[in-house]
């Protein structure tokens, strides 16, 4: 199929992806790509990963028919792929285990990564503890203050959390800091990028590790309902949970795929992070993709109530899927996401991550307009990390 073929050319998805790197990082990425190519064909490696998925993460995660929510909406039936039930509470553990095992096989001493909301950081610190490698997490000072419980979790797991105080003090600059640290010692360290972003092979490799979600979901959904879902939805920050679920349905042309980006407080520069909706192609952090940037090519400041969606770039495969029209990308505002956060919590007793609540919010709109159609949402994470923040800032309208 078209998508696979485009991907075959050295990490490009159409015009997107690649490895736009200074020369000293090129051999490092080539080594990771080669090693990954070998290991993914090595049965013992894939079996080891599958063992962890089953007995450590708790896979397969169930699909749940959200009957109460469906009734409240008064529309088409809504199903949830429950990635929130994974160990550590989000889909991130799926790729972190893959990255940590790969790093261990390559003889690396230390995993390093950026984190926004701290979900990737917690998942990586977990995987590092499990496989027995050191772990350094770079996190913007602003996010450290906002996501304190995750900072504590990482520390308890034995990771070092390194505050990033440069420039915007958030996710984009945490990526810069992680690259900077990586360049100091690319031989002993492994930069485990937190989404389907960054230079080749990360967009492909992280997608492959997340594709377990789509494979499971496709067969579970057919088993439950006897057919494929009509609409499949996921929130898009870097795009890892979305590509994981979508990858199971890309070749089913009758299934509509929807990526949901955060429109934050609105479409003024600096008040949203809707990269595919408002961005233009550009190069940042070693890959070409849609990018929120100003006229001179500087990334724009971004904002979303969901720290995990707060990035000016997006995975290159999403840029490609947008251009060829296979996936539709839409937006949900802070306010709509918070509304959905409470709706799911109160109808189903499931508190979603604010990131995932963006997908739920769009599903609620879509279900209302399509009463005959089935919807499957990637519930990418649970909202434990968000409860204090939501109550403090939005509690008044709901309590």
């Amino acid at each position: 199929m078209e998508t696979r073929q485009a991907n075959a050319v050295k990490g490009y998805f159409g015009e997107y992806g690649g490895a736009y790197l200074p020369p000293e990082l090129i051999p490092v990425m080539e080594e990771i790509a080669d090693e990954y190519e070998t290991l993914r064909r090595t049965p013992t490696f894939m079996e080891e990963l599958q063992e962890y998925y089953t007995h450590y993460v708790g896979r397969p995660s169930p699909i749940y028919y959200a009957g109460n929510l469906t009734e409240q909406i008064g529309g088409g039936p809504v199903y949830l792929k429950r990635e929130d039930l994974n160990h550590t509470g989000a889909h991130k553990i799926n790729h972190c285990l893959g990255e940590a095992l790969l790093a261990k096989h390559m003889g690396k001493m230390k995993l390093i990564a950026e984190t926004g909301a701290g979900q990737h950081g917690v998942a990586l610190a977990t995987a590092a503890a499990l496989v027995g490698i050191e772990c350094d997490i770079y996190m913007g000072q602003i996010d450290i203050e906002k996501e304190h419980p995750n900072v504590s979790r990482m520390k308890i797991l034995g990771a070092r959390v390194i505050p990033v105080t440069t420039n915007t003090k958030s996710l984009k600059d945490a990526v810069d800091a992680a690259f900077e640290a990586y360049l100091q010692d690319p031989v002993n360290q492994f930069y485990a990028i937190g989404s389907v972003v960054g230079p080749h092979p990360f967009p492909t490799m992280v997608r492959d590790f997340q594709s377990i979600v789509g494979r499971e979901a496709r067969s579970q959904f057919i088993q439950m309902t006897g057919r494929l879902p009509d609409h499949v939805l996921a929130c898009v920050g870097g795009g890892s949970n979305a590509i994981g679920l979508f990858s199971g349905f890309l070749e089913d042309n009758e299934v509509s795929l929807h990526g949901v980006e955060p429109s934050g407080k609105g479409f003024k520069d600096g008040e949203h992070a809707a990269t595919l909706t408002k961005g233009t192609p550009g190069i940042l952090h070693g890959f070409r993709s849609y990018l929120l940037q100003d006229k001179s090519g500087q990334p724009l400041p971004v904002y979303s109530v969901a720290s995990g969606l707060d990035y000016p770039g997006v995975g290159p495969e999403h840029s490609y899927l947008k251009d060829i029209g296979r996936v539709k990308y839409t937006t949900i505002s802070d306010e709509e996401a918070i509304k959905a956060f409470f709706a799911l919590s109160r109808t189903e007793g499931i508190i979603p991550a604010i990131e995932s609540a963006h997908a739920v919010a769009f599903a609620m709109k879509l279900a209302k307009e399509n009463t005959e159609k089935t919807l499957l949402i990637n519930l990418s994470g649970r909202g434990d990390k968000d409860v204090d923040f939501v109550l403090r800032h939005y509690g008044k309208g709901y309590l």
């Binding site: 020369p23 990082l25 090129i26 420039n167 900077e180 010692d185 190069i283 940037q293």
Partner: protein
């Protein structure tokens, strides 16, 4: 001035701390005896640069420095500056401006050398050779000791006039001594052809630069000049260059 001393290339971030200072620095650096200037157009996420140069990039951007203003400055002073200016920036700046527009700006300002560290020659979006040639711009390839010999040979087979090499695998910043790996690499390039070798990253004393004799043609000093500027102002930068150039 000895004929055979290594040429001195001073690295500056355009607009740090402001454009007027950049202008004064460029003239002062030339006056102090530098042989060329590497002028960096700031980018918010400069992956190949260390903390000092990164934060100078950020500072310049906080002052809302634009590409137009930088080229306006270059239009005004570069043609009459007796030493060449090598323009350095990241690929997104070039592509967002538009490759041919960027090249035409360079040509207008008399810029003949361009350095783009995050643009490998085999990328899908590269700067086409015929475009560069039509504007008489020489794209200076950036090399690194750790790069594969296959890539190295592919780059050198296009017979670039200049090559820019990093002496350690890491980023720009101070390093007590130039690592042996760096010397071996310089020797290797030297043996592969007649290139003008620009070597840098981490140089911070005249004696280190003298060590490069026979291995490189041009030494580029960046982070160290920035540190001198931050600690003691522009005169400290000029003094450093003068001390080296007068030997």
């Amino acid at each position: 001035m000895s004929e055979k001393r290594i040429q001195f290339m001073a690295h500056l971030v355009a607009g740090y701390p402001d454009l007027l200072t950049t202008e004064i620095m460029m003239k002062g650096i030339e006056n102090a005896g530098a042989d060329s200037i590497e002028l960096q157009i700031p980018f918010s996420d400069p992956l190949a640069d260390g903390p000092l140069i990164s934060s100078a990039n950020h500072q310049a951007l906080r002052n809302a420095i634009t590409l137009k203003e930088i080229f306006r400055l270059l239009d005004r002073i570069a043609p009459s500056l007796p030493i060449p200016v090598f323009l350095m920036t990241y690929s997104n700046i070039v592509f967002q401006c538009g490759s041919s527009r960027f090249c035409s700006y360079c040509k207008k300002a008399g810029i003949k050398h361009l350095i783009v560290p995050d643009l490998p020659f085999d990328s899908k979006h590269a700067l086409p050779l015929d475009l560069l040639q039509s504007f008489h711009i020489d794209l200076v390839p950036v090399l690194s000791p750790s790069m594969s010999r296959q890539r190295l040979d592919a780059i050198l087979s296009s017979h670039p006039r200049y090559v820019y090499t990093t002496l350690k695998t890491g980023i720009t910043g101070p390093e007590e001594e130039i690592q042996n790996q760096g010397f071996r690499f310089l020797k290797e390039i030297r043996e592969k052809g007649d290139f003008r070798i620009i070597a840098g990253f981490g140089l911070q004393s005249p004696s280190q630069i003298h060590f490069l004799k026979g291995y490189a043609d041009i030494a580029v000093v960046g982070s160290h000049l920035l540190r001198l500027y931050n600690e003691s102002g522009s005169d400290a930068v000029f003094d450093f260059i003068r001390t080296y150039a007068d030997v």
